[in-house]
Symmetry: C2
Subunit: 253 residues, 2 copies
């Protein structure tokens, strides 16, 4: 197990709207889930403002450390969409009009009101050397440059680009999660959790407390790339909770 190759990815969320508190990010959770299906672990996320240098710093720091880097946001048609410029600068390559992207936009906007305006043509700009990521949802493509995948910020459009990418990334074994819930304050079962984790090398147990319907409870999440091991640990944890007087709930509360 120890020698198993672990594939990791990072995400740079480009977004003043997230940092201002105006918009609730939804791309972290959706990308994490998608990556896990491919056996790739989301290992780090950075949220940075809409500033060329700050985007470039984060992109260069993270693309070197991980197998894959994703970015979300800033690839639309307006003046505040500067991701392409920032990533081209980070790679030290010029921005070009990508012929294939231009063709996609020409086809998409043919017959639509306004047609392919200069503003919309901004969405055909890519760093030199880039490939395109198909966007079945709204035309304008995402961009792949080296190990960097540049996605839209609107969650539906990002999802559509991920959908088109499904099955194309190399990874390892997905992490399997097994959740057991109990109406137990986590501090009452802390020893039992630690002992269970120690008894099953290769699993990690996370404890996530909540207060709901007037009472404390916790969900315990067992994670492992070995699904059988995760399930066996879950069964053992449930048994130990039962012996401690709690009523474990498979799948969590």
């Amino acid at each position: 197990m120890d020698s198993e190759r672990v594939w990791t990815a990072a995400l740079v969320v480009i977004g003043d709207e997230i940092l201002s508190g105006r918009t609730q990010d939804k791309n972290v959770a959706q990308l994490a889930t998608w990556l896990n299906d491919h056996g790739i672990r989301l290992a780090e996320v950075r949220v940075v403002p809409d500033q060329i240098e700050r985007i470039g710093e984060a992109v260069n720091a993270l693309r070197a450390k991980h197998d894959y880097l994703f970015t979300t946001g800033g690839i639309g048609p307006t003046h505040d969409d500067i991701t392409v410029d920032a990533i081209a600068a980070a790679f030290g390559v010029p921005v070009i009009v990508h012929p294939e992207a231009r063709k996609i936009l020409e086809d998409y906007y043919r017959g639509r009101p306004g047609g392919l305006t200069e503003a919309r043509m901004r969405m055909a700009r890519t760093p030199e050397g880039a490939e395109l990521l198909r966007n079945p949802y709204s035309g304008a493509p995402g961009i792949k440059l080296g190990n960097v995948y540049i996605l839209a910020g609107v969650p539906n459009i990002a999802a559509s680009m991920l959908e088109a990418l499904t099955g194309t990334l190399e990874g390892g074994r997905p992490v399997v999660s097994v959740t057991v819930g109990a109406r137990a304050p986590e501090s009452d079962v802390a020893d039992l959790l630690r002992e269970t984790e120690a008894a099953y090398p290769g699993v990690a147990i996370g404890s996530y407390p909540f207060f709901r319907d007037g009472g404390f409870g916790s969900n315990f999440v067992i994670r492992s790339v070995d699904g059988d091991l995760a399930r066996a640990t879950g069964a053992e944890l449930a048994e130990r909770l039962r012996q401690a007087g709690y009523d474990p709930v498979d799948g969590g509360i």
Copy 2:
């Protein structure tokens, strides 16, 4: 305006549960809003896994760059709560049992089922030299060490700690946001947006498109520390949208 001191903060979200996609973070938006009320800008967020070294790297990188650093997560009673150890290591100080925190927990758990167990006493551990952040919600305090504010991960508890901190942090002028919405695809009004932003130095205009009820639309968010300027820009943008044939909606759609 250019010489105005800008106060910035960063946030380190400590959480395998966020990186696995299991849990949707709510602390970024809540902290961003709270900071802005204090005239402090949330300038960067990093989400890191529950690993001592990765937490320490992020904390040391960001506490040096910003006026304030916040962390959320990993200060509970279970084995996966390692934030205190990670931050003590990052500062190069030992972990101690904080006498005041111990007293708070003794008072809180007196008469509650189970009492002050060894697991719960973990929540009295702090890096040496730390002060406490009151937690009216559930007893166990947050921690302040230098310019680092260590908050709980459960959003209600983090909110309670922020509530207790309200008014105690020095900042500058809050950013005022004015939102104007229109049933316009952003690409149709990109020029108009750019020109309006250029005409009002000291404002930034963000464009946030959506697809809803079968049609495209956008919200335009004008931000400035000068509230009058933000409102004047918003009025001007609404007028320009009207002249372009759209029906602007104050406050957004």
